[in-house]
C-alpha cells in the first residue's frame, strides 16, 4: 500500500513586484531553491509552487519535515531573475486554507 505523503505549505512574499504566474519566474525560484538546498535536498523536500497571487506572494508545498530547510533556504535567495529581491516566509501550515486564514491572504 502506498501511503499519501503529508505536506506543509509555506507562504512566501517577494520584496519586488514580478509576474509570479510566468513559468520562467517559477523556474527561476525553483533553481535558486535547488542551489540552496542542493539537488538531494530538493528531491527530499519536493518543493512545488501551488498558488501565486498576481504580484508578490506565492505558496510552496513541501514534504513534511523539510519546511524548516525551505524557510531558511528562502532567506539566502537574493535574486529573482536579474532583479535583486528578498524572499520572506510569512507562515507555515498544514493546509492552504489555514495558511490563508492565519496570514490573511487575499
Amino acid at each position: 500500500m502506498i501511503l499519501r505523503r503529508k505536506s506543509r505549505y509555506v507562504l512566501v512574499e517577494v520584496s519586488c513586484k514580478a509576474d509570479l504566474n510566468s513559468s520562467e519566474i517559477k523556474k527561476d525560484v525553483m533553481l535558486s531553491l535547488t542551489k540552496e538546498l542542493g539537488g538531494l535536498g530538493r528531491l527530499r523536500a519536493g518543493p512545488k509552487i501551488v498558488w501565486c497571487d498576481s504580484d508578490s506572494r506565492f505558496i510552496v508545498r513541501v514534504n513534511r519535515g523539510y519546511e524548516k530547510a525551505v524557510v531558511l533556504a528562502f532567506a539566502f535567495i537574493k535574486k529573482l531573475g536579474s532583479v535583486r529581491a528578498g524572499f520572506y516566509t510569512l507562515g507555515v501550515s498544514g493546509s492552504i486554507r489555514s495558511l490563508i486564514e492565519s496570514c490573511r491572504v487575499v
Binding site: E13, S15, C16, K35, E36, K68, V71, L72, F74, A75, F76, K78, R84, A85, G86, Y88, T89, L90, G91, V92
Partner: protein, 164 residues
C-alpha cells in the same frame, strides 16, 4: 515573544507586522551607529574593531550595545559586555548575501561569536542591519537561522526591557 531588528533603511509599519517583528529600529532615526565615544545624545550602537575603544564606549550609558567588526574574537571585550549587561549585536547581512563558498566562513565566524557570548554570559543578538528590503528577513527565517548557532534560541533578538 516580541522580536526586534535593526536596519539601515526606513521600514513601513505594514511590512514590520507582516514579517512578525514587534519593532524594527532604523539607524539614523531610532538610534545611531558610532565608532567611538563621540556622537549625538540618544541610544547608540558602537561599531568597530579596536577592543579598547569598544570597551571604553560600552561604559557610556546611552550605548545599548556593540558590533565587533574584527576577525579575531576578543574574550575580554565580551566579558566586559557581559559585566555591563550590554548587547553584542551580530549582523547577519553578509551571511545572507554572500555566495555559498564565502557563507561557510561567515557562518563559522558568527557561530564563534554567538558561542563565546553564550559561554561568557553576554547577550548576543542576531540583527540584519539590512540596507534595503532585499536584505531583511522574517521572524520565522530568523528563528531557523538562529537554530544553526544555538538550538535554544539564545541569539534571537527578543525584547528584555528598556529600549532594546
Amino acid at each position: 515573544m516580541r522580536y526586534f531588528d535593526i536596519v539601515k533603511f526606513d521600514v513601513d509599519a505594514a511590512l514590520t507586522k507582516r514579517l512578525g517583528y514587534h519593532k524594527v529600529y532604523v539607524v539614523g532615526k531610532d538610534l545611531e551607529i558610532c565608532h567611538g565615544t563621540e556622537g549625538l545624545p540618544g541610544p547608540k550602537i558602537v561599531l568597530g574593531w579596536d577592543p579598547g575603544v569598544l570597551a571604553r564606549s560600552l561604559k557610556q550609558p546611552d550605548v545599548v550595545g556593540m558590533v565587533f567588526e574584527g576577525k579575531e574574537l576578543n574574550r575580554k571585550l565580551i566579558e566586559k559586555a557581559a559585566e555591563l549587561e550590554k548587547n553584542v549585536f551580530v549582523p547577519i547581512r553578509n551571511l545572507l548575501s554572500y555566495d555559498i563558498g564565502e557563507r561557510v566562513y561567515e557562518m563559522r565566524r558568527v557561530g564563534d561569536v554567538v558561542a563565546a557570548c553564550h559561554k561568557l554570559g553576554a547577550r548576543a543578538k542576531l540583527i540584519t542591519l539590512a540596507e534595503d528590503v532585499a536584505d531583511i528577513i522574517s521572524v520565522g527565517q530568523l528563528k531557523e537561522l538562529s537554530c544553526l548557532f544555538s538550538e535554544d534560541g539564545y541569539a534571537l533578538p527578543v525584547f528584555d526591557g528598556g529600549l532594546i
